[in-house]
């Protein structure tokens, strides 16, 4: 569904532009989940911004299968919820009102008791879940996830991953997941692309065996160790 080819992407820096992505190619099939794993600061977030259409200054091409940009749901590293709207209102804002779908997402992601709270009253873990619910609310064909579980304690992160996997089972869509944690990548993705330290480019591709997919972080860690 997606073909990404970025010849070069530079960002302004002191002492001249700095190249953050160079000669990067990746493809994504329908309903496929691909993890992008690389050291922090290697340009992963920039890549997601380019694919999401937030950054258009690069050399290369993003090609969508049907020639049109699909519906994209984005989960940013910080939850980026509007603090002056409740969780329910945050979700309602991004999609034309379909109360039934919004309510079912709230229930599915364990957010029902928190739906009428404002984001500042939520824990980081709950705010992240709300951001995931919002991304699913647009009924995306592509989900962009930028380190959605970073800086959560291990138990909360695992809960979040379980909730994400549940949402995936019922609302299938393709996804690009950026993470620096190989075990997390192996526990969520079908395929893992290892990126080089900046400028980013794909250095290795790992396929997670079908029987091991979305089986929790312990299985992910085992697969990651076996693959590398």
């Amino acid at each position: 569904m997606l073909d990404v080819e970025i010849a070069r992407k530079a960002v302004p820096a002191r002492g001249g532009p700095r190249t953050v992505i160079e000669g990067l190619r990746l493809t994504l099939a329908r309903e496929e989940i691909v993890a992008l794993v690389g050291p922090s600061g290697c340009g992963k977030t920039t890549l997601l911004r380019i694919i999401g259409g937030l950054d258009t200054r690069y050399e290369g091409a993003i090609t969508w299968a049907e020639g049109v940009r699909p519906r994209i749901g984005t989960v940013f590293q910080e939850p980026r919820l509007l603090p002056w709207r409740t969780v329910r209102q945050n979700i309602a804002l991004v999609r034309p009102p379909n109360p039934a779908e919004a309510e079912s997402l709230l229930a599915l992601l364990g957010l029902a008791p928190y739906a009428d709270l404002h984001p500042p009253a939520l824990s980081l873990g709950m705010a992240r879940r709300a951001a995931i619910a919002r991304a699913f609310a647009v009924e995306p064909t592509l989900l962009l996830l930028d380190e959605p579980f970073v800086s959560l304690d291990p138990a909360m992160a695992e809960q979040g991953r379980a909730v994400l996997a549940t949402a995936w089972r019922t609302r299938r869509c393709a996804a690009l997941l950026v993470t620096h944690d190989l075990a997390e990548a192996a526990s969520l993705a079908d395929r893992i692309l290892l990126l080089s330290e900046g400028p980013a480019r794909v250095v290795r591709e790992l396929v997670v065996p079908e029987g091991s997919r979305r089986r929790g972080i312990a299985e992910g860690a085992r697969v990651a160790a076996a693959l590398t």
Partner: protein
């Protein structure tokens, strides 16, 4: 309880005023009761309402002009560095221009009219609105705006749901200080170039050395401003900040 606590200092002030004025016994310092009686007479004759009305209308017009233009200017300066650089010294200059000079020059250059009076008052408030809103526009969370773009929210929706709520505290700050400033300047503009309004009336009483009249109008004016503060500004601000 809240109302009683607010009212008590006012009552004490009136009592002290009444007592002191009676002790001094000068025509130039009338007691509170005399001023309130004069206020009643002015109200009964219809003068008070007319003068307060035109002054309020001028305040409202000047306030609206200053807030709308100042907000637009402030957002532009906060978001685009080029605009900021081009206009910064002009705005700072206007900010420091004495109100009286602005009013006199506008009257001289553009004539004595309702429009020039309002423009002169608005010009005094506009730069401070622009500077306050500029701070707000600079502090806008780009992450939230990116989020809105990523979900393909339209321009109008982004402005309404993402940008304006972030600007509210700054807009309220500008509105609050703006109203306080405009009340004062409108009276000067009326005194210099209008033939009605509270400012004009106070000038008349000044020429007659009628302190009772001056205080009666001042009192009426303070009450109106306070009522607007309680009934409009504070509830609006509370509503906008409910989520905090």
């Amino acid at each position: 309880m809240g109302w009683a606590a607010r009212l008590l200092p006012v009552l004490v002030l009136f009592a002290v005023w009444e007592l002191a004025a009676r002790l001094i016994g000068s025509r130039l310092f009338p007691p509170a009761s005399t001023v309130i009686a004069a206020l009643g007479q002015e109200a009964a004759s219809g003068h008070l309402l007319h003068n307060l009305g035109v002054t309020l209308a001028r305040v409202a017009a000047a306030f609206a002009v200053a807030m709308v233009l100042g907000t637009g200017l402030g957002v532009a300066m906060g978001r685009w560095r080029r605009v900021d650089r081009a206009l910064d010294s002009l705005v700072t200059g206007l900010l420091n221009l004495p109100a009286l000079v602005g009013i006199v020059l506008i009257y001289v250059w553009f004539g004595l009219s309702e429009a020039t009076a309002i423009a002169a008052v608005a010009l005094n408030k506009l730069p401070s609105t622009a500077v306050t809103v500029r701070e707000g526009a600079r502090a806008l969370d780009q992450g939230l705006i990116d989020m809105a773009h990523s979900f393909r929210m339209g321009r109008g929706a982004i402005l309404r749901h993402v940008v304006l709520p972030q600007l509210y505290p700054y807009l309220f700050g500008a509105a609050r200080s703006g109203l306080a400033l405009i009340w004062k300047i409108v009276l000067v503009a009326e005194l210099l170039g209008r033939s009605d309004g509270v400012g004009f009336q106070i000038q008349v009483y000044f020429q007659l050395f009628d302190v009772t009249g001056i205080l009666a109008y001042t009192l009426a004016f303070i009450v109106v401003v306070q009522v607007i503060e309680w009934l409009a500004l504070q509830p609006l601000e509370r509503r906008a900040n409910l989520w905090r």
